[in-house]
Symmetry: C2
């Protein structure tokens, strides 16, 4: 039987992040990207979500390597978890390799084997696959897409990208190489769909710098500039503006400090040695001669900017008319409340805050909009389309875009996690699904928090817990005391002592009206009684936990 090519969206569709795609042909398999996801709002207490590696482990003998497209968490953050379970080489550009090594160090793990490729000329042979990377533009430098040559034809895998003709690092999307790699026809494209609901073209990163300079020039006091720490180009622009305006720069916050150091060491960030000074030294300069580049652009609790905004920072503070400039993509929906909180705190301190929903728009998206997506389609002319890196609605809009230029709707695969597209003899079809589940990371635990624990947390979060202690004389089958009820997160115990005492007494009366008391009856009756009792009296449904002590 003839082999077929399988494309598996193991995760990374429907949820924007957690990018993890598999290409499989016969005895060969490669992975593109290995990112983390962020917990949904009902995944209480969960730190991260990572892809389900079961399918990879089952087919480990086929695995030829992992290709990483760029330096964002949702494309490389799950590598430490993968590499704890299996061994495989990683392939990436130089800057991305730097970020990967840093990530492993962060987890206290030994450096993994990263093979650095050159996106201008290298072609990587991985089993039957010949993978040619090509440069794309995005909000972190040194990102690529991949032309994957397979026995069934060429698939272009293009994660996060936009067409930026005037990028800060002077290295635009390498359209020439991509188009030449496309010679001979393109079977399919798997590409970024996140911008598919945004009209027009995405603006160039370059647009920012002039606006930034204009704003900072007006600052008569301290200047705080914040962006996502991986956005090296934005940091480069901030450095250039500072240099032109005669301000020294100080990096504040571990993440931005490390990322900048890596980028500079590898030649992706350029500034003269005396421009950047330690924060302690900056504190001695006149306040109008300093710019702080500070981490926490999404208002992350505990980040440097968060602490400054709350007046909790060791050595930095914000006073009236200090300038605070936010310059990053809009926060993901889950983080919007965090950044809003920080922005409001800064405004209360009478800082002059430049945030896109206060004044001046200083962000441009890293993702191509509708016209960028159509341009990619026009350049590649693929037969099949696979939207990635978006939600269900982005995939649908992407599909509508493809259809607007004549694609057959049946040739667009809006995949849910685990779904397989099989290519055979030039034809593609949906072909089943790899079973996958969400692997939740909570503290040190990976995968041990599941639905039961989450459901319990949801109940506890909403109405708290009431523990009822029943002292039971098993021999005589009587309660030896009133049931004692302790609650947390339900009613304010100190104030409601009387209420809980009465509930205990009422419960005892009920139990003693029963003919035959045993442990099971005690447990069931008290749970049932108290749930109804509490709901009737308070309209709340705390988790009721009976504890029976035989004495």
């Amino acid at each position: 039987m003839k082999n077929s090519l399988k494309f598996i969206a193991l995760s990374g569709t429907t949820g924007v992040t957690e990018n993890f795609y598999i290409y499989e042909y016969g005895n060969d398999m490669i992975i593109v990207d290995c990112g983390v996801g962020f917990p949904e709002h009902d995944m209480l207490g969960v730190d991260l979500v990572i892809p389900d590696f079961s399918y990879v482990k089952k087919n480990i003998s086929k695995l030829r390597g992992v290709l990483i497209s760029h330096g964002h968490e949702d494309h490389l953050g799950a590598l430490p978890f993968l590499l704890k379970e299996i061994k495989t080489p990683i392939y990436s550009t130089k800057l991305v390799a730097g970020f990967i090594e840093d990530k492993f160090e962060d987890y206290g793990l030994p450096s993994p084997r990263v093979v650095v490729f050159d996106p201008e000329r290298d072609v990587i042979s991985l089993g039957v696959f010949k993978v040619a990377p090509f440069r794309v533009s995005h909000s972190v430098p040194d990102g690529v897409g991949f032309a994957i040559d397979t026995p069934e034809g060429k698939i272009f895998h293009v994660p996060d990208y936009k067409f930026d003709w005037t990028p800060v690092d002077g290295k635009p999307f390498d359209v020439t190489r991509m188009v030449s790699l496309a010679t001979g026809g393109v079977l399919g494209v798997a590409s970024d769909s996140l911008g598919s609901t945004t009209p027009g073209y995405t603006e160039s990163e370059r647009e920012i710098e002039g606006k930034l300079e204009e704003i900072i020039r007006k600052g008569k006091r301290r200047v705080y500039f914040t962006t996502i720490s991986s956005n090296i180009s934005r940091v480069q622009q901030a450095l250039q503006v500072a240099a032109r305006l005669g301000r020294k720069v100080s990096f504040v916050g571990k993440s931005i400090d490390r990322k900048a150091e890596i980028a500079r060491n590898l030649g992706y960030l350029h500034y003269s040695k005396d421009l950047v000074i330690p924060a302690k030294q900056a504190a001695k300069l006149p306040i109008e001669r300093v710019m702080y580049i500070i981490s926490g652009s999404y208002g992350q609790p505990g980040s440097a900017l968060y602490r400054v905004a709350l007046g909790d920072h060791d050595f930095l503070k914000i006073e009236a008319n200090d300038l605070v400039v936010f310059s990053s993509d809009p926060a993901p929906p889950g983080s919007k409340t965090n950044v809003d909180f920080v922005v409001d705190k800064l405004i209360e301190l009478n800082a002059d805050v430049h945030y896109y929903d206060v004044q001046e728009d200083l962000h441009v998206s890293g993702h191509g909009s509708q016209k960028d997506i159509l341009m990619l389609f026009g350049l590649l002319k693929p037969k099949y389309f696979m939207p990635i890196g978006g939600t269900v609605r982005h995939m649908r809009s992407y599909s509508l875009l493809a259809q607007s230029i004549g694609a057959d709707g049946r040739n667009v695969f809006e995949l849910t996690p685990g779904e397989i597209v099989e290519f055979k003899s030039g034809l593609a079809r949906l072909s089943g699904k790899v079973p996958t589940r969400n692997i939740l990371v909570d503290g040190l635990g990976v995968g041990d928090v599941g639905n039961v624990v989450l459901r319990d947390r949801q109940v506890l979060a909403r109405d708290g817990v009431a523990i009822v202690l029943l002292m039971f004389d098993g021999a005589n089958r009587v309660l030896v005391a009133d049931p004692e009820i302790i609650s947390r997160g339900f009613v304010y115990e100190n104030k409601e002592k009387e209420f809980l005492l009465r509930a205990g007494k009422d419960l005892r009366r009920l139990i003693e009206s029963k003919k035959r008391i045993d442990g099971k009856l005690l447990k069931d009756e008290s749970q049932d009684f108290l749930e109804k009792y509490f709901y009737a009296k308070t309209g709340r449904r705390p988790m009721v936990l009976p504890l029976i002590v035989e004495v």
Copy 2:
């Protein structure tokens, strides 16, 4: 001593909702609006937030009445709570009075006394205050602003509004009356700031209808139309479109059904009797002859649309190519995840979904944007400015707008809840603060859930609870058994039995190594030990609750 006018933003600044403002002069006091707020993301399990009525109760002898500006929850929803505590007349337009009565019915309360005023001619005397309402445009009909004539001068109180010259009900913002009421000069304006970060003018409601008709005309199957149930004008437009396209309309969902009925009975919604039919009857028509106007535009869990999207509705379902049109303001930040969830479910059913971030923008804001705000300023030419109905950042942007047309920044009062502006001899100044707190409504409890309970819920939500039962022989001062640990929301108990057993044994060993055991030591040591133990082993910090049973 000469009296002064006090304006107190008791709530409704910094948090958008929960509008509640007090005007006080000598022995007279009036309230403008009495709305609910919605819980912040960290107020776990809380249903509503209502204003703190303490100040009103303390000054009850001065209270002359409550004026309600329009029919939205954040302007009238707290009336049942206020009227449970005090007696006072309510003043509003006819439609708003209908909504208020409905709300009291909903709470099972007797109808309150609502005095209906005519915004085209009435002037209401409330003690020293002469209040003249005037019509404004908003996303619910029959809304007004108030010209409040006081011994100190005129304050214009203009909550949610925009300038819509082609409103659906044919009754635009009554600029003529407002301007004539402003004759003689305006001391201050307290007005809607929510649109202050949005450039330009807000579009007219009328714009929607043409787009809507175009989309629905293409629908070959069922049509579902959803908007906020109070948006009577949008419902009117949907009805008109349905009539023109030969579709019967069926209202689905209690809230939309009731609001439409009230509006029709009071003459605010017009349609011929045979246009609207019951859902059961609609089910018998060909699917291309029906339009459902359905509640749940914010994806509210349990709403009609939510249930249809999940395939849980009694008698309605959605199939491929059914049309679903969302036409309401963007959901408040906290609801975005709800509506996204519903939209994604609908797309998965292959419905043709029209939602602003999928395709076609079918909402216009009910709030004036920057140019509308500047127009209001230009028409009233107030000396003092008080932004209301927005967050800290909206107030700041509003202040920048006022300054852009020459206002002195010191004449703009960005108030935090409770702050008092005092007007005396034509001059205004900040003059202290009325102590207020958030009154949280949780189930049947009003105000009993406070910081302690919320903090407990936050801990429980993140890492769950571990209860440790210690059986203590007080006479001999020894533990009679290994401490028993029960957990919920921490680790999956069935799988982690061994882990919890071991923790109990380790705890016993520690305790028995102590010289003198007593109840307090038991409690403190086990809490301390287990907190550290669990964090070291799992990276989590569950709430540890020791229960000591003396036997």
